[in-house]
Symmetry: D2
């Protein structure tokens, strides 16, 4: 991973106001992968008090972006083309973990998967699984 | 549409804290469809100032839930099974509109589609398209 | 539509041996859309005698390719990046109709949707809905 | 795995005429997984001589059905609700391998993933990845 990739992943998490407002934190990343976590606040709930599907999709999407960014060529940024998320179990807190892995990076497109897990009594369970396509685009400075 | 459906759609929007915290508003609904809108605040931005993909997915997912709720049998609620969203254009404000339509409602599963549009100078453009599967589940009172 | 687009759509259907072996026929196409049909043979059945999901996916995918090809820039061909298909009803014969429409064509990517319908007693019913991303790539001559 | 599950997986592959006509073979299965393979014939090609996306989707879909069938409750069969397939690389022969794994089996729905690989000079490469939802339905005898 180059300094470009390192900076890009950090900026993707630091500069996205929506991610900061939800409380999503970058934990770790390496070539082709990225990990994040989220402390579940009451403001993230759907109508039954569970974590809203939109929160899980946001967490998965952004972490896929982080994983794709570790593979971006010099001068390139990443954007999401499409994202599918399957909701395997109802999700609750106190913490959600997300890990995204690049399946395949081409010249223009990157295929990434992510899983979101909860931890209850030391036991992690998968609550959502995402399959996403992202594209490399020229980096805008600023 | 029965009183059950009417109440269910309203509750889905009123009681979901995440939806209220984002500013998503229920606009209108009828048999098999639901419309919502969102005034875009700076806190919903991704790293380049555009609307975050997670916001578009949340808006589409929740409005699909509203459309599915208009078809829920007596005593039944709805949950999202999976959702795929394609990002057709960069999305910015000031307002996002979402319309969800039921493609097919079975006894247990509902297939719903949604489009998210922006308005610029009186001209609406589609920015995202969602394809979602939801399930009917027994309603929990409370 | 240019002669390039016209030829490309025709070649996509004529030169694909798998499409011909299934009996899929190109019916009509125009700017941003394509229609095809398939006479259902017993060899296309799954274990209960219904049309196999793979047949519906193939029909939808190829017709999405036809619709995307009507928008391909000069010297460009199309390939499928990803495809999601929802199975709304059990599908049987005698004929399946497919219509694909381009949602959005960018410089590199095209978003296309398709529906597959059956006809029973003059009444058409939708049995599958597809949402696909395709990419433009340089055309290989031959 | 019960005798019901064992029989169901075998029947899903033996009785599906489309699967036999393509040459897809059941290789092995166990609790929550299924493996199949396909010798690539010229009749499975798209317009450039590569394996048609529809073949990859069919192989992935049917093998997901096999994996889901290993988890079907007594007296229950499986059907595909929706399937998304990402095409990571161009696929060619001589042989395609598919492995499907159940991510989560509920009472009514099963989430399954599958990968399709090619082998070239002893080296396997992933060419497609599928994410599918299936439903349990009452088994029809016959």
């Amino acid at each position: 991973m180059t300094e470009h990739n390192h900076d890009l992943v950090n900026q993707i998490f630091e500069r996205a106001r929506f991610i900061r407002s939800l409380g999503i934190e970058l934990i770790s990343f390496g070539d082709g992968w990225c990990e994040s976590q989220l402390n579940v606040a009451p403001s993230l709930a759907q109508q039954h008090g569970l974590v809203h599907a939109g929160v899980l999709m946001t967490l998965a999407d952004h972490t896929c972006g982080g994983a794709a960014a570790t593979m971006a060529p010099e001068g390139q940024d990443v954007i999401t083309v499409e994202n599918k998320v399957s909701f395997l179990r109802p999700a609750s807190g106190p913490v959600l973990f997300c890990r995204a892995d690049v399946l395949r990076a081409g010249k223009r497109l990157v295929f990434v998967e992510a899983k979101v897990e909860t931890e209850q009594g030391g036991d992690r369970k998968i609550v959502a699984k995402a399959s996403s396509t992202l594209a490399f685009i020229p980096l805008k400075l600023g």
